[in-house]
């Protein structure tokens, strides 16, 4: 029964995406809405990304020092390991898990509220493709802006580590900076950026799907919001494994 229900949900999700990915009726309105969504979903997330990245970057650096404190390892290994953790996992997978909570619940509750207050019915009666009108600008905006957030995250995390080096005696600044530059593989940056595009699509589309299909009242909107965060998070983890296997091996 669970398998049948899951397959049914996947089918509904695909049909929903098919409706969402249709040609906009008015390009001018689509572009305007996309920029509004870039601001709402992307630019508004920058403070959160900066705060989290700064602290996690600092914590990673301290943890690395504590756990790799061995005469067999060079001191710059702290900076090197912190950099690779940030580039490979934190700036994309972990950041997207956090954003699934902020952006995902925002999208699901916004569209869900529109559904229960009949605003989506109003669009349909006017002859507007509501799935395309509401969802496509969010998808395009979030997928387009996610690399910016990821790059912000990469930079700020390393800055967090640098602040630890500057204001504590965990590691010297020169060794930390040398570690950040040592044995650098540029593909890791591309790997992080490619992953974040997939995750951004998952967050925006899954949250929209749950919000769009709300039935009932405010209680169901809250439930849809929770479901969207849980489902997005699970899918992000699943795709993280798949993409790592494909892109790094």
């Amino acid at each position: 029964m669970i398998i049948v229900n899951s397959l049914r949900s996947v089918g509904r999700y695909c049909m929903f995406m098919n409706r969402a990915f249709s040609v906009p009726e008015r390009w001018r309105i689509f572009v305007k809405r996309t920029f509004t969504e870039i601001y709402k979903l992307g630019v508004d997330s920058i403070p959160l990304v900066i705060i989290i990245s700064l602290f996690i970057g600092a914590v990673i650096t301290i943890q690395m020092k504590l756990n790799t404190d061995s005469p067999l390892l060079p001191a710059y290994a702290v900076g090197l390991a912190a950099r690779d953790i940030v580039l490979l996992e934190f700036s994309n997978s972990i950041l997207c898990l956090i954003l699934a909570g902020k952006v995902g619940s925002n999208i699901a509750s916004e569209i869900g509220t529109m559904r229960v207050t009949e605003q989506i019915d109003a669009l349909e009666i006017m002859g507007v493709n509501s799935a395309q009108f509401l969802v496509l600008p969010k998808l395009v905006a979030f997928v387009a802006f996610m690399p910016v957030l990821t790059i912000f995250c990469m930079g700020t995390s390393m800055l967090g580590g640098l602040l630890v080096a500057m204001f504590t005696d965990v590691i010297s600044v020169s060794r930390y900076v040398y570690g950040l530059q040592a044995l650098f593989i540029p593909w890791y940056v591309w790997y992080g950026l490619i992953k974040c595009l997939f995750f951004a699509f998952i967050i925006a589309s899954v949250s929209s799907y749950f919000g769009y299909n709300v039935k009932g009242g405010s209680l169901e909107v809250g439930r849809a919001s929770t479901q969207s965060v849980v489902t997005s998070s699970i899918l992000i983890l699943l795709f993280d494994v798949l993409l790592t296997k494909i892109l790094l091996q």
Partner: protein, 259 residues
């Protein structure tokens, strides 16, 4: 004119509408009345194409919305305006933005003309001063009027209203009723109002369709309703003592009138 021919609609094996037929006339306020759960909302949603009937036809001046393809349905929907029970205004748009919305989506007119039209519609519903306000900054009655202005922005041929008076005080309800009636006659629209407000029934009911337990039980106007022999309709319309007294008064006075 909208003609409904033998429509049936079921959900999970339970039939909500049984072979319902009715005619809704142009230039008249057509009312669908019935108790909660009688099927009138399902009928309304079928009329506007949000639900597809299992069988039957719904003809908009001869065009069957049930059998037409999506493209034709989309074109027809541009001739439809709808006022929802909860107004369904877009929270993120101002009053003016809400009225402008259908114009910017579907009209090819220059922006200034669209703006003029939106201001004209707001003026028609006496809301010129509220154009910069957001829906959550205005009263329920004003929200209904904005929804009416939005519904008539594209000059529709058909206007659907789902419980337009719900949640409004009696004075505002009468204002909304009068506005809907005036607009219907002014623009010669086919207006269909789904209601169980007896003030509306007796005030603006020019063509009333009574739905009971999924069946169309009675059709008539507000005068005929006083003399109906339909038991279910009598129980529904004259359920309160006040309306019973109104009915007795009307019948009493009618019998006194010289022939």
């Amino acid at each position: 004119m909208i003609e409904v021919k033998d429509i049936t609609k079921s959900f999970d094996g339970r039939t909500i509408l049984h072979d319902v037929s009715a005619t809704f006339y142009t230039g008249k306020t057509n009312l669908i009345i019935g108790q909660s759960g009688s099927g009138k909302t399902v009928l309304m949603k079928s009329l506007v194409g949000l639900l597809k009937p299992d069988s039957g036809q719904i003809l908009f001046d001869g065009r069957d919305i049930v059998s037409m393809d999506i493209k034709a349905q989309k074109a027809l929907r541009k001739e439809i305006g709808m006022l929802f029970q909860g107004s369904a205004l877009f929270d993120s748009e101002t009053v003016l933005g809400n009225v402008m919305f259908p114009l910017t989506m579907f009209s090819d007119s220059p922006y200034d003309e669209m703006l003029d039209r939106a201001h004209f519609c707001l003026k028609r519903v006496n809301l010129e001063g509220a154009s910069d306000k957001y829906p959550n900054e205005i009263s329920g009655g004003m929200q209904k009027r904005v929804a009416i202005a939005r519904a008539i922005a594209l000059n529709p041929k058909y206007l659907f209203c789902d419980e337009p008076n719900s949640g409004l005080d009696p004075k505002t309800s009468i204002l909304i009723d009068e506005l809907l009636s005036d607009i219907t006659h002014e623009y010669n629209m086919t207006t269909i109002i789904n209601t169980h407000d007896m003030n509306s029934v007796l005030g603006i009911g020019e063509n009333i369709v009574f739905i009971n337990k999924g069946y169309r039980e009675w059709v008539g106007d507000k005068r005929k309703i006083f003399t109906t022999a339909n038991e279910a309709l009598n129980e529904f319309v004259f359920a309160t003592r006040l309306f019973q007294e109104v009915k007795d008064y009307v019948i009493h006075n009618a019998s006194k009138e010289p022939e």
